[in-house]
């Protein structure tokens, strides 16, 4: 049963890797992101970029798109929205206890979230490599950017699962708070804590930190530290909630 979500689609999974809807959306996003790469592909010659001191948008456009798509997908998956919400499905799924709720979060759900996030990002790896190489991003910056995308998607997944635990599946409050979190994390943080904004971090890799005179040094380090801290905190909260419910269930 453990790690069956990798291979087997069951109703008690939050979102198995090859659940029809999950698989269709995952690979559908890869097609859409490829079209976006076509959009961001440099239209002028390389020498005109060098002559005019412009950087091609391939890296920034593609990485930001992939990050937003994976993060939003993670929010939907974490909230259990990959299952259909029609009347009959709701009826069928009433009272179902997910594997992710049944097992302790850290050794089960958290590992699942990490592996699924890595799986989804790996499908878009060729697009990421091509767009980074075309924009002249160094290999180190490329891997750092991958870490930004990974942590952004993981924090969204972990938070939305917390909302699932608090408000249940198909809850309006759950939807509201997860989308609010998405907006704050990707947009509002730019105004009051730009170092923790993932789009800003990708933008720094795009232009190079020398272009900014006011950014603190080690912006990337602060971002990773901050986001990892939040992920661990959310993981802990999820673990406590699940463990308490399991204890209550066993005693009942």
């Amino acid at each position: 049963m453990k790690f069956d979500y990798l291979l087997k689609n069951e109703p008690r999974h939050l979102a198995a890797f090859f659940h029809p809807r999950v698989a269709s959306v995952s690979f559908g996003c890869v097609w859409i992101l490829t079209l976006l790469l076509v959009l961001f592909w440099p239209k002028s010659s390389l020498l005109s970029f060098i002559k005019e001191f412009r950087t091609p948008l391939a890296y920034l456009g593609t990485f930001t798109s992939i990050m937003l798509v994976h993060s939003y997908l993670s929010i939907k998956i974490g909230l259990g929205e990959m299952h259909s919400d029609d009347y009959f499905t709701r009826l069928e799924r009433r009272g179902i206890l997910l594997f992710e709720e049944e097992n302790n979060f850290i050794p089960y759900g958290f590992i699942e979230f990490i592996l699924h996030t890595l799986f989804m990002i790996s499908l878009t790896l060729p697009l990421l490599i091509i767009s980074a190489a075309v924009s002249g991003i160094t290999p180190l910056a490329f891997f750092q950017s991958l870490a930004v995308i990974f942590t952004a998607a993981l924090i969204c997944r972990t938070f939305s699962f917390l909302m699932y635990l608090c408000f249940g599946q198909w809850s309006r409050w759950g939807r509201f708070f997860t989308r609010l979190f998405f907006a704050i994390f990707f947009l509002s943080t730019f105004a009051f804590a730009f170092f923790i904004n993932p789009i800003f971090n990708l933008y720094l890799f795009h232009v190079g930190p020398e272009s900014f005179s006011k950014t603190p040094e080690n912006t990337y380090f602060l971002y990773i530290l901050g986001v990892t801290g939040v992920i661990l905190a959310l993981t802990l909260i999820n673990q406590i909630i699940i463990r308490r419910r399991n204890m209550t269930r066993r005693s009942a």
Binding site: N9, T34, V38, F53, R54, A133
Partner: protein, 631 residues
């Protein structure tokens, strides 16, 4: 420790610093200027780096850049060392910063406000003792006269960039160090104007240091009461109640400008493109000091200054730089085959996903195929795109302007190198063994912060330029130098024809060469390396009126013969203005044959080897051959 009164001092802990800028604290704006920094260490041994930071540009125009000149410093306990620099100061609005660092930490720093030190005028440098105000007032008024100490004179020839004329006592010249002497000799060779006098103590004239400039044979002194020859030279006769001495000399390879009773009193010697004038009298002694004709004399001497060499292609930076950028090597990966490749990946991935979904994720074989597909495609992308872009990330090309006069075997060079990068990179340019005037050409890029433009490290072996280059940017630099260039040419006007021969002993083929003579132009064709070209132009052709259509034919033929895109672009762009410039300068002159040719290769300063992918480079050669009239 000697304090340098004219610039400044700074002390921190056991190390003290003093510095002297320019010539007696004065420098000419937008010219290379000497700076000497002296460090005294009263404490333990110190190893660090001495840096001079020169800032140019304007915050309002958002183009502020700084250049750093650095030298490694090793100070044993109780030692005092002087470090000479030659720096380029374009503006006085930013202070000059001098700092001593160790392991990245600033130990000592000083900032010098340049407002009271700059001059817009050229400088006249006086070297000698007991320089009187009367003598100073007799010098031409269009220059600023400075009296520096000999120990602060430049150690590189281009440190005299802002100097128009040097008036020196030979005793002072004899006290210069070897590097200073080489710098002075280099400056004269490049077109400098040096006036020498020995005074009554002519012993210094016989030293090797002076003999290097003037091969003087002393024949004694002559006592005179007047110099009538000065009347024709300066318009004023010189008479004195008391006798004064003039030195009787014979100087090899020199031409007397003025003789008194058969004794040369003002002698001129040409060295390279410069000139040395020797006066057989002591201009700082009686009766010259109080002579009414002193000012007129110095104005006449100033008129003898060497004329700047004609260099038609020298001032065309803004036209050339866009052409150089247009010839860079790399390009983006092909759009069609990139997305064709991705399409194949997507199709295979979609197929495997569909099968896996149908099998409910239960097929390990399909999972393995999916994993292999992702890994193989990702690794392939990384290999193809990153590896290729790594190789071509930093490229360069160059454009060299060469000027040769006669059979000097040397070419004055102006070398422009452009670097183009789509990654953050660091470039190291090593110039060995010489020191060259190296500067950045402003790129027109607007920036809000002061960016370090480059750091020039001076070593005993030469200099190294360390240049940071941002991704998706270009940088241009200029180096002036003199290189060995083995060309031999002869032009003789005989009874029936002008006969010319050109021998190319250089490493490069000269292509598409043209001869300009008395308003007419003739195609020479190519002069391959190691070969001789001979041509003869009949007098009847030379006597024909130049044709107006001739110029257009030349331009068309020149472009048609160009072998590479860069050469073609350059010739299209500059040949017309070059043609006009040469024609108008030499139209009336029958004593000069002017050759213009092209070299389809990189011609770079000796010892320089850029570590980057080389793009297409080119060079233009201008060769001035004196015409001997045998008719």
């Amino acid at each position: 420790m000697v304090l340098f009164v004219f610039s400044g001092t700074a002390i921190s802990g056991s190390i003290s610093m003093a510095y002297s800028l320019g010539f007696n604290g004065v420098f000419k704006l937008s010219s290379w200027t000497p700076l000497t920094v002296s460090l005294e260490n009263k404490g333990p041994s110190f190893d660090g780096s001495l840096e001079i930071i020169v800032t140019r540009g304007s915050e309002y125009l958002r183009n502020v850049k700084s250049a750093t000149y650095a030298v490694e410093v090793n100070l044993p306990p109780g030692s005092t060392k002087s470090f000479p620099f030659t720096i380029l100061i374009d503006t006085f609005t930013h202070p000059l910063k001098i700092r001593l660092t160790q392991g990245g930490t600033t130990i000592l720093s000083s900032s010098l406000n340049l407002r009271s030190h700059y001059s817009d005028q050229g400088l006249t440098v006086l070297l000698g003792e007991k320089i009187t105000p009367a003598f100073l007032s007799s010098l031409p008024a269009e220059f600023k006269t400075v009296v520096p100490r000999a120990e602060f004179l430049p150690h590189a020839w281009f440190g005299y960039d802002g100097v128009e004329m040097i008036i020196a006592n030979t005793g002072i010249i004899d006290s210069l160090r070897e590097r200073q002497l080489n710098a002075l000799a280099g400056w004269v060779d490049q077109g400098g104007f040096l006036i020498l006098s020995s005074g009554h103590n002519y012993g210094s004239l016989l030293t090797p240091k002076i003999q290097r400039f003037l091969n003087v044979d002393i024949q004694g002194f002559k006592k005179v009461f007047q110099l009538d020859s000065l009347a024709s030279f300066s318009g004023h006769q010189l008479k004195s109640e008391n006798p004064f001495l003039i030195l009787q000399t014979e100087i090899a390879d020199a031409m007397p400008l003025l003789k008194e009773q058969g004794i040369p009193i003002i002698t001129q010697r040409k060295i390279g493109q410069g000139k040395i004038i020797f006066t057989a009298f002591d201009y700082q002694d009686q009766p010259f000091i109080e002579w009414e004709g002193n000012r007129a004399l110095w104005n006449r001497i100033w008129e003898q200054k060497p004329q700047p060499g004609f260099f038609a292609s020298k001032h065309q930076d803004q036209e050339i730089l866009p052409l150089m950028i247009s010839q860079i090597v790399p390009s983006f990966p092909g759009f069609l085959w990139t997305f064709g490749f991705l399409l194949v990946y997507l199709a295979l991935g979609q197929f495997l996903f569909s099968r896996l979904t149908r099998k409910n994720g239960q097929s390990r074989r399909l999972l393995a195929y999916l994993a292999v597909l992702v890994i193989v495609v990702s690794v392939s992308c990384f290999w193809i795109y990153y590896r290729d872009s790594f190789k071509k990330a930093l490229t360069y090309n160059s454009y060299t302007r060469l000027k040769v006069v006669g059979n000097s075997q040397k070419a004055v060079m102006k070398y422009t190198i452009g670097f183009y990068s789509f990654r953050d990179a660091g470039i190291k340019l090593v110039f060995n063994p010489d020191t060259h005037p190296f500067k950045a050409i402003p790129s027109g890029r607007l920036e809000d912060t002061t960016r370090p433009s480059y750091t020039l490290h001076q070593t005993e072996y030469g200099q190294t330029a360390v240049i940071p280059i941002d991704r998706w940017s270009h940088r241009f630099f200029e180096v002036d130098s003199v290189i060995d260039f083995q060309l031999q040419g002869e032009a003789v006007m005989e009874e029936s024809a002008l006969k010319l021969s050109f021998k190319n002993n250089t490493l490069h083929d000269i292509v598409n060469a043209w001869l300009f003579y008395t308003g007419r132009s003739f195609s020479i064709g190519n002069i391959p390396k190691g070969k001789v070209r001979v041509m003869s132009i009949g007098r009847e052709i030379l006597s024909r009126q130049p044709s107006l259509t001739n110029r257009e034919e030349i331009l068309q033929k020149t472009a048609a013969l160009a072998q590479t895109p860069l050469l073609r672009a350059l010739q299209n762009k500059i040949m017309a203005s070059l043609f006009f410039s040469i024609q108008s300068h030499f139209e009336q002159r029958k004593d000069v044959a002017y050759i213009v040719g092209w070299i389809n290769a990189e011609v770079r300063p000796s010892g320089l080897s850029p570590q980057a992918v080389e793009g297409e480079s080119a060079a233009i050669l201008e060769w001035e051959i004196p015409v001997r009239d045998k008719s």
